[in-house]
């Protein structure tokens, strides 16, 4: 199962503080859908462009279709804006 890590702020808002989860998912979209089933409302925040996701160390922004492997480590983090 892939290990999913949410930010502390997401934990506070949606999961009652839980930030590390093990889930069976195939890609980012699937992950967001399944997270939303568990924690209703979280999908909106994860998809409004304010969050990025790192899969096995690689940073992705706005990437629904990125694959998540069975042993992947997935971290959500605020989207990086630039100067």
């Amino acid at each position: 199962m892939a290990q999913i890590v949410l930010t502390n702020d997401l934990g506070r808002q949606f999961t009652g503080g839980e930030t590390t989860l093990d889930m069976d998912v195939t890609d980012v979209r699937d992950l967001i859908r399944k997270l939303d089933q568990k924690f209703p409302g979280i999908a909106e925040v994860l998809q409004d462009g304010s969050m990025a996701v790192a899969i096995d160390g690689n940073l992705h922004q706005d990437a629904w279709l990125e694959d998540i492997g069975p042993t992947s480590e997935v971290y959500f983090l605020p989207a990086i804006r630039g100067g």
């Binding site: 890590v5 930010t7 502390n8 702020d9 506070r12 409004d48 462009g49 304010s50 790192a54 096995d56 160390g57 690689n58 940073l59 992705h60 922004q61 706005d62 990437a63 990125e66 480590e73 971290y75 959500f76 983090l77 605020p78 989207a79 990086i80 804006r81 630039g82 100067g83």
Partner: protein, 754 residues
């Protein structure tokens, strides 16, 4: 190809394609275009830091001969109060519109309240003077710590801090709180032999781009809008104008002028929608350019900050815990870069226990805009200062302490994910081995070291590569060339196509000539647009291979492309004469039409950059004046596509960072109005303030990019703040925590010893 290849054009110091235009004055910047019948637009700005607008009377101005239109806040659409993401930016259009033209209140000195368009500049000035605005002045607040106090004047009566549980019941100037980190801080600090706690302050600094904002806007009778302006993204200008003025994006064409510097400050717009409103009413094109005073009073500087850092280490130098609280000025509406500040603060270090908390605080200043590595220079300055002090306390060499605790591949970054391959350790090692680091120091001199980290970003990019029948190529991309990116695009395309660099002409296309591109910022252009250019060139190569295969009647898979030629490969190797790009291009009509390679991507896999800087300073004990004697900047850039422009970016970032550390600051009067509105007393470094800046380029390639690019532009502004402060502290034997390190502060520190 491949990230480790030997290249003909990538990594070479080619002459930039726009070089001649820029040394002859031919290049057209934002203020250089004009149109027949064009009017001049000007803005009336608030003289108060915080005030209610009781009334605005524009009737006299409207009657003045030569005035063609006048607009105030109510002439702009009211928009939903919601933050949305657009590409790599986030925006709340209700707030943005209010910043463009104040509605009920003015929130800073310089806030626009009205605008006019007239036949001449003098008439426009006269018209502004005829507009009567009645204000009710309100108490104001500028400093971030003051703004957080319970009794502080409130900018927004209904603002409840987001990110606090349970939500506060009282409004405050604190827009939001964010938090990052992991581990057990208490245990971490319990395991420490030495704990250092300090508070740091930095002043707001302006990006200081030399070209003031400017735009020429024409709204035609049929509603079609054409905008010539300089910005960090023509598509950003289009999206913002469309939303702010409630018209379709397809109706707006934004033609990018050359941009005279941006550094993040041109990722927002100030004039274009106002000029649209004026032009639409007048039925004539309108030109608006800011004066330097307007740039200083009313465009986005970066935040002033106040930061607490606590760091623990064992006596042999292992960092056990790090904690920071960051308070950043947002300006008049939420949106300081405190988030990235909190994420980057401890990023160069491997910490098991780390926590950063950030507060985004509104104050009566213009909205903070991005400035190179937004948020990071301040937080990393605070941490790098404490690291330096820790090394002193432990009797360790400051680079050795950093090496012992360096983040490397596999380290969990303080903001969550694990790092992939990164060049942090390589930078530290190169700095340690650089002759600068062991050079002797004289009396009153000090040496400072600091590291820096930035994420770098990717984003949406489109490119096309058109192969001409004479064997040349035109490369279209959609990012303004802010520091030599045309040269990089041409080099990458030449490399992939296998033709000479000077046979490639790179063009920065307007919004109607190419698909959407995120803006130039976050160090994304060479990475993301570069990736699109490489992919588009590869697409063109594939088409040419297919055509050669048809001519030879073999499978396209049996055709390889090298040195600008299609060559039969595998079982057919040597069977046919290779065909050059020019040969194939010449017959393009017969073979199915023009050859155009295209790529439209959302570039993923941006990889972080690290740098380590060393600086020597001399402090004059009589005057407190600091002279920068020697500067060396080491940085991992993944791959330097054009080393001269990579070095130039690093040197420019260093100069800005040194200015921020030593001289640059906003000075406000008791009335909350900015007092240093020009270059005379907002002191940016001049040539005589700086030495030559030695650069060392480290290349740990980013596997996600065809040539290994990470990004360059953000990292180099981060370490100078800490490095300079550490050098000064070491020179005078007193820890300096309050930037800028102006002579009076240094004299006081020498005198008081603290």
């Amino acid at each position: 190809m491949g990230v480790d290849g030997n290249y003909k054009w990538v990594g070479k110091r080619t002459v930039r394609p726009d070089g001649t235009d820029k040394v002859t004055g031919r290049a057209l910047f934002s203020a250089d275009s004009s149109m027949p019948g064009m009017l001049i637009g000007k803005i009336l700005r608030s003289p108060h830091a915080h005030a209610k607008i009781k009334s605005i009377d524009t009737s006299k101005a409207e009657k003045l001969a030569g005035v063609k239109s006048v607009v105030i806040g109510k002439d702009f659409p009211n928009l939903p109060n919601k933050t949305i993401s657009i590409g790599i930016l986030a925006a709340n259009f209700s707030e943005m519109s209010d910043k463009l033209m104040a509605r009920k209140k003015v929130l800073y000195d310089g806030h626009p309240v009205a605008a006019v368009a007239a036949t001449t500049s003098a008439i426009a000035d006269k018209a502004l003077s005829l507009i009567k605005v009645e204000y009710q002045v309100l108490p104001h607040v500028i400093d971030v710590d003051e703004a957080m106090k319970p009794k502080a004047p409130l900018l927004h009566k209904k603002m409840i801090t987001v990110g606090v549980d349970p939500a506060p019941t009282k409004a405050s100037n604190v827009a939001s709180r964010c938090e990052f980190g992991f581990g057990d801080l208490e245990a971490g600090f319990a395991a420490a032999d030495v704990i250092i706690e300090r508070t740091f302050k930095t002043k707001p600094a302006h990006q200081g781009y030399l070209e003031p904002h400017g735009a020429v806007v024409s709204v035609a009778e049929d509603g079609q809008v054409t905008i010539w302006c300089s910005s960090q993204g023509q598509f950003m200008v289009r999206s913002y104008c469309a939303r702010l003025m409630q018209i379709d994006e397809a109706q707006i064409r934004v033609i990018p002028a050359e941009i005279g510097g941006g550094f993040g400050g041109k990722t927002v717009i100030y004039l274009e929608p106002v000029a649209m409103a004026l032009s639409g009413r007048a039925g004539k094109p309108v030109k608006m350019t800011m004066t330097r005073e307007e740039v200083m009073r009313a465009t986005g500087p970066t935040s002033g900050t106040s930061i607490d850092v606590k760091l623990g280490a064992t006596k042999d130098g292992k960092l056990t815990a790090g904690e920071a609280e960051l308070r950043y000025q947002a300006g008049c509406y939420p949106g300081s870069p405190v988030g990235p500040g909190a994420m980057t603060a401890f990023a160069p270090y491997n910490l098991e226990n780390v926590k950063t908390v950030g507060f985004d605080v509104v104050v009566n200043r213009p909205q903070a805009a991005a400035y190179r590595a937004p948020g990071a220079p301040m937080s990393e300055f605070a941490v790098e200062s404490v690291i330096d002090e820790m090394a002193q306390k432990l009797g360790m060499d400051p680079i050795a302490l950093r090496e012992l605790n360096a983040a490397k591949e596999g380290t969990t970054a303080p903001y969550g994910p694990k790092f992939g391959p990164i060049g942090n350790e390589q930078c530290l090692e190169a700095a340690k081995n650089h002759p600068h680091y062991s050079a002797p120091l004289g009396p009153n001199q000090g040496r400072g070291v600091a590291s820096g980290f930035w994420f770098n970003v990717g984003g949406e990019s489109v490119a096309s590569v058109n192969i001409n029948t004479d064997g040349t190529a035109v490369v279209l991309s959609g990012n303004p060339d802010i520091g030599g990116s045309r040269a990089s695009m041409a080099a990458m395309a030449a490399e992939v196509l296998g033709i000479d660099y000077d046979k490639v002409r790179p063009i920065v296309a307007d919004t109607s000539s190419i698909g959407y591109n995120d803006l130039t910022g976050g160090s994304r252009t060479t990475f993301a647009s570069g990736m699109a250019v490489c992919n588009a060139a590869t697409d063109a190569v594939d088409q040419m291979r297919t055509r050669a295969a048809k001519v030879w009647d073999i499978s396209p898979d049996a055709v390889e492309w090298s040195e600008g030629h299609a060559r039969p490969a595998g079982p057919n190797a040597g069977d046919f004469e290779p065909m050059s790009l020019a040969d194939i291009a010449r017959t393009s009509a017969k073979m199915g039409g023009p050859i155009t390679g295209r790529a439209a991507i959302n570039a993923q896999g941006a990889a972080p950059g690290f740098g380590t800087h060393i600086v020597d300073v001399e402090v004059d004990p009589e005057t407190g004046h600091v002279t920068v004697l020697r500067y060396t900047a080491v940085q991992d850039v993944g791959r330097a596509i054009h080393p001269s422009y990579v070095e130039g970016q690093i040197q420019g970032g260093v100069a800005q960072g040194v200015g921020w550390a030593l001289n640059e600051e906003y000075v406000y009067g008791d009335d909350g109005c900015l007092q240093n509105t020009g270059f005379l007393d907002y002191r940016m470094p001049v040539a005589s303030d700086l030495p030559m800046i030695d650069t060392v380029i480290i290349e740990v390639p980013n596997e996600a990019h065809p040539f290994g690019v990470r990004g360059v532009g953000e990292v180099p502004i981060i370490p100078p703040l800490g490095a300079v402060a550490n050098a000064v502290s070491n020179a005078i034997g007193v820890r300096m925590t309050d930037l800028p390190l102006s002579p009076p502060k240094i004299l006081a520190a020498i005198k008081n010893g603290s």
